[in-house]
Amino acid sequence: MATAAIEIENLTKDYPFGFLHLKKKTSLEGLTMRVEEGEVFGFLGPNGAGKSTTIKLLVGLIFPTAGTARILGKSISDISMHQDIGYLPEQPYFYDYLTAAELLDYFARFHDLPAQERKARVDGMLKKVGLETARKIQLRKYSKGMLQRAGLAQAILHDPKVVILDEPMSGLDPVGRREVRDIILELKQAGKTILFSTHILSDAEMLCDRVGVIVGGKLRGVGAPDEIVGIRANAMEILFECTASATGLDGLLSKAKQLGKRYQLQVPEADLYATLQKLGGAGATILSVTQVKATLEEYFMHLVAADRAQAPAVEVSGK
């Protein structure tokens, strides 16, 4: 079995609080999972579920109460492991008195790159994330989107095998989100392993090979977005218009949902063409044909509701 890029075993994080620290808030409980090399793995969950906690544990910003984790075969307490990972923190903030070029150069110095190569990489990265023109401007003048891009640049500058991103799309406008998505896909093409957390489900559906859903500090489900939802797409939905005078469609029309002059009809995939022919023959105008999928969102909401039923929803971020 190939070494997983990230292996997590029974990772737990408690935060003691209260008088004499006798009580504790469990931010993460017994997390066990793997991320294989080369895959894009999405961490989903509501706010305070434990996504950021897991990522911070992996990167060494906080320390586990129990359990272990390994990245590329090395324990998370091994500092040399950091040579091969890149990390983008959530809502990143960098030294605002530095320019983007200086920031990248500063971070690059921790990676034992010869000066020539360092400069080349910095230039390359700035171009890649589209900050070339702003390279000499101090970070304090950057917009949120630009900061996010700078953050991404410092995360991948040293060409790490594993890239860990904490809410990389938060606060970005659609253009920004698209750019980040593109970069993630590029990284995947290059064979990198990517772990990112998000609560935007559509991004996860679009990008991830597999997702893990964390609710209330516990892992609820892991798998490909399709699998996890449990329902395979096997229905097709037809959107069409027809006049009242269309004949031969009564059977169909009664099964369809009417929205003004339009109808929405679901049919099994096997019957798709037959139905279309029938509709065409009856003079209906076909507006669109789409696949019906149970969405990740429904699954997600179901899990959250189940968790909330168990325990009162306390969104403590472990701060």
Binding site: G60, L61, I79, G86, Y87, P89, R109, Q154, A155
Partner: protein, 258 residues
Amino acid sequence: MKRVGVVALNTFREAVRDRVLYNLVFFALVMIAASILVGQVSIGIHEMVIVTLGLSAISVIGLLIAVFIGVGLVSKEMEKRTLYALLAKPVRRWEFLLGKFGGLLLTLTVNTMAMAAGLFLVLRLGRLSSDPLEGPVLVAVYFILLKLAMVVALALLFSCYTTPLLSILCTAGLYVAGLFVGQMRNYHSDTISPALQAFFRWISYVLPNFENFDVMAAAAHARPIPAVLIMQNTAYAALYCAIILTAAAAIFTKRNLK
């Protein structure tokens, strides 16, 4: 070790860009004003007053910088979360701490040397300088630097653990306490028990002794300062800083960031 240097240089750069070094302008003005005024007022002790004033200014300004920037060295990075991306790099926490310490110390050294140069300039221009005077004054400046190193170490220690305001109070408190350590050591009184006296004596060794570095009087009177003392003080400051930084590293290495 190289990584320590990287962090140190960046800390220095931050100080420069935060316009910390502008204090030198203030210092220059003070020295000029003093030298003009004092020239009118006192006869025969002109150089003594300039030296005293100059050294006091160097010390006070240095202390202000050491304390106010020192207490933010770590806490500011944690507050602003600039630390997050950094710690994901292959750099150990103690290397980061040492780098911060080194960076501020570098800033202070540059600052102090510039002020010392200004002081010497004023002395030379006023034709007050003399061979016997310059040596002790230079040593006095060096001692101020040693003292500042210890203050930075203390500020850094508190910065790892608590808020800037508390850090300032604790560091300033320890500094003031450190000035009276000598008295604490020799405190004889019939009003307190021998146990308490022994306790005071013990604590007078644990607290940082800043009196050791006070040679302003000797410098003002151009009396030479023995080389032995220079070595002893250097060793003292180095050892004390090492202790404090070790403690700081121990605390910070286990600290869970927010």
